[in-house]
């Protein structure tokens, strides 16, 4: 399946039409379907539209039936949440790094961090690693202060950041009690080849090349629970790559889900509950 941010590879590839011509199937049908599949994943057309457009020709050409699959495993009533087991976290920052790789965040922008807290005096010391993504608060102060509603609470529990509306006033940054927001000052890893090829695939948007003065440069950025991955049935990058298997992700609306059960355990707590922000990220002590 073509992910949108491997433009790099695409540019190195041979022309699609040439490849298709060598197959015994209809070239133009293949090209059209590929085109529309892109539009489908961009959300420009619905799956129903796609299916009704190609049903006939697909069954004629390939003798196969094209069906609508999206409703299976629907995310309609889902409220995403995360549980992080502090006893399992080894503080390796794999989550931080995989997040940077997944979301292509520039220097100075990090959606996830791991804080190390040491307590006590030698020899009675304890050390806790606290990984901190955005808490996706149910009562997000960042959203209530935003003058233009560029950040808001979506139905699926995710606190969305709209890079196309944000005016960059940074009010949300001073209002977030968790330091979960970073400002994109427009810096780049310019020592890296092709650093500007793809930017912020968040929310499944393809913004094209990263350019000076083009969003998300000049706006505030934050974790979005890897919404683009959730959409294709994958877990957030930090969850998937965690070497200690310390992170759990799932539907907090479903009482049978692992995250719900863990969040209800006696070990569960949330950061800075006194602020009344109702985080959707739980920790197990």
């Amino acid at each position: 399946m073509g992910t949108k941010y491997d433009v790099l590879i695409n540019e190195g590839l041979v022309n699609g039409a040439d490849i298709l011509k060598s197959s015994k199937y209809d070239t133009s049908l293949g090209l059209n379907m590929a085109e529309d599949a892109r539009r489908l994943s961009d959300g420009l057309i619905s799956e129903e539209e796609f299916v009704s457009k190609y049903q006939e020709s697909v069954s004629k050409e390939f003798n196969q039936k094209l069906e609508v699959h999206a409703s299976e495993g629907s995310h309609d009533n889902v409220k995403w949440g995360m549980v992080i087991d502090l006893r399992k976290c080894v503080g390796c920052e794999t989550c931080t790094v995989s997040c940077k790789a997944e979301n292509r965040t520039p220097p100075g922008v990090s959606y996830n961090q791991v804080f190390i807290e040491e307590e006590g005096t030698f020899p009675n010391v304890s050390r806790t690693n606290i990984p901190r993504p955005c808490m996706h608060c149910d009562k997000p102060p960042c959203a209530s202060v935003c003058p233009v509603r560029a950040t808001y609470k979506a139905d699926n529990g995710i606190v969305v950041q709209d890079a196309d509306r944000c005016i960059g006033c940074r009010y949300c940054m001073v209002a977030c009690p968790y330091g979960a927001r970073t400002f994109d000052f427009g810096e780049n890893y310019d020592e890296m080849l092709g650093y500007e090829e793809v930017t912020s695939p968040e929310h499944g948007m393809d913004r094209g090349k990263r350019k000076e003065g083009k969003a998300p440069v000049g706006t505030v950025r934050k974790c979005n629970f890897c919404f683009h991955r959730l959409e294709r049935g994958e877990e957030p990058a930090c969850v998937e790559t965690c070497i200690g298997d310390a992170r759990y992700f799932g539907d907090l609306n479903d009482p049978e889900s692992t995250v719900s059960k863990l969040a209800n355990s006696s070990r569960a707590f949330r950061l800075k509950e006194e602020y009344g922000t109702e985080p959707r990220v739980y920790y197990l002590r």
């Binding site: 233009v148 560029a150 005016i167 001073v174 968790y178 330091g179 000052f185």
Partner: protein
């Protein structure tokens, strides 16, 4: 305001030429500052916020501090004008129109500062297009605009008759032509219409008071106070301190502006009025200090760790000189001494210095509101922030302030801001 003062003006020793020369030099200085500042602004516009000392850890800096400083000056100056136009304190009449005009210019300057601070200046208009009822900032944008329209309207009524007179006066030159445009076709100079003007000014003043107090400046204070994540801001006293310190700085600014303008033009200064205003300024200042004292005392006694951390930065951190030196010593101790000491309180110069120091002190207050609380990070593991404006921020600020003074000087030159300009004009 006495007749003798007016007569004195007619004995003006300065010739028109020296005045014109001084004005030219002054404007040249401002233009040079504007060009220098403009360069810094251009640099910032092209390169983005990366060229400032702002960071993800300290996202708000000098521009935000200057923004609330100028909003404060504006609200203060306007509230002072209501003493005259609403509460009939005629002893201050001479500064009435200056107060309104200053209030208007200060808003322009404040909004320029906040525009500079936006990560995406090109989307500034979004702030008008979208509205978030829960966001104080969203309300503020609208309040600022309403307030500016109100200021302009009230100022127009205050100048109306003089504008008409100027427009008729053939010898008034450019000033007359401008007046002719601004009078918007109004031509009635009768007593009745003057009365009507005063009624309008009173009405606008009365509407303006809650807009200025609750909407504009209290609102700006609330913008900070409503942030639970910043314990230092998060107290109900905060908006009140904002309003009171606005009164302090507004009064101080008017004293300074009035005296300096009169002196430069070689005109006499109304000492009684200056003394009255200076006492008023110190009165506001003492209320301000008292409120802040309790703010610190309660925070200190309740020993909330996150509040203590901010106070610690403010009182003992590397920038504590701005609290002790600027805010307390220069901005409060010295001016209080100057206004109360028998040796100095008869001298216009000493009182003016006191006023200027108070204005500088309030700049310190604004910086201490914005910066120290951000030095202390919301999460323990984050690196401690540090912030001091860099040359881009200083130079661009200089440019914006110069722009304000430039607009102000143009206004003072071409608008009938002096009360009874008509009578005095002939002798200028």
């Amino acid at each position: 305001m006495s007749q003798s003062a007016m007569l004195k003006e007619s004995n003006d020793t300065h010739s028109n030429q020296t005045l014109a020369k001084r004005f030219k030099i002054w404007m040249a200085v401002l233009i040079v500052s504007m060009i220098a500042g403009g360069g810094a602004i251009l640099y910032r516009v092209i390169e983005g916020l990366a060229v400032t000392n702002l960071s993800t850890f300290v996202p708000w800096g000098a521009w935000v501090a200057f923004y609330i400083f100028f909003v404060g000056l504006s609200a203060g100056a306007f509230l002072l004008s209501t003493l005259i136009f609403v509460f009939g304190m005629e002893q201050y009449e001479r500064v009435g129109r200056f107060a309104l005009f200053t209030a208007l210019i200060c808003m322009v300057v404040a909004l320029t500062f906040i525009l500079l601070d936006l990560g995406r200046m090109d989307r500034a208009f979004n702030a008008m297009m979208y509205w978030n009822v829960l966001s104080i900032l969203s309300w503020e944008v609208r309040f600022y605009l309403i307030y500016m329209v109100l200021l302009a309207t009230e100022l127009w009524f205050a100048m109306r008759i003089d504008l008409i007179k100027l427009a008729k006066d053939k010898s008034a030159g450019l000033k007359g032509k401008l007046a002719n445009v601004i009078r918007l076709g109004s031509s009635d100079t009768s007593e009745i219409s003057a009365k009507k003007d005063h009624r309008w000014m009173k009405i606008l003043g009365i509407i303006g008071i809650p807009i200025a107090i609750i909407g504009v400046h209290g609102g700006t204070g609330t913008l900070f106070a409503a942030v639970a994540a910043q314990p230092y801001w998060n107290t109900p006293l905060f908006p009140i301190i904002f309003v009171v310190s606005a009164l302090v700085s507004g009064t101080a600014l008017l004293i300074a502006m009035y005296v300096i303008q009169r002196k430069v033009r070689g005109k006499s200064v109304d000492l009684t009025m200056i003394k009255g205003l200076a006492v008023l300024m110190i009165f506001f200042l003492i209320i301000d200090l008292t409120l802040e004292f309790y703010e610190f005392l309660v925070a200190g006694l309740s020993m909330k760790p996150d509040k203590m951390a901010v106070l610690d930065v403010m009182f003992t951190g590397p920038m504590s000189w701005s609290f002790w030196g600027v805010q307390i010593f220069l901005g409060a101790v010295v001016p209080i001494y100057l206004v109360f000491s028998k040796r100095t309180n008869q001298s216009v110069k000493a009182l003016t210095i006191a006023a200027v120091l108070v204005v500088i002190g309030i700049i310190g207050v604004r910086f201490n509101i914005v910066v120290p609380t951000q030095i202390v990070q919301s999460m323990k593991g984050l690196p401690e922030g540090f912030y001091f404006p860099n040359w881009v921020e200083w130079l661009s600020s200089l440019g914006v302030v110069a722009m304000g003074l430039f607009l102000y000087s143009l206004g003072a030159r071409f608008l009938p801001l002096e009360t009874q300009e008509g009578e005095v004009k002939g002798h200028e």
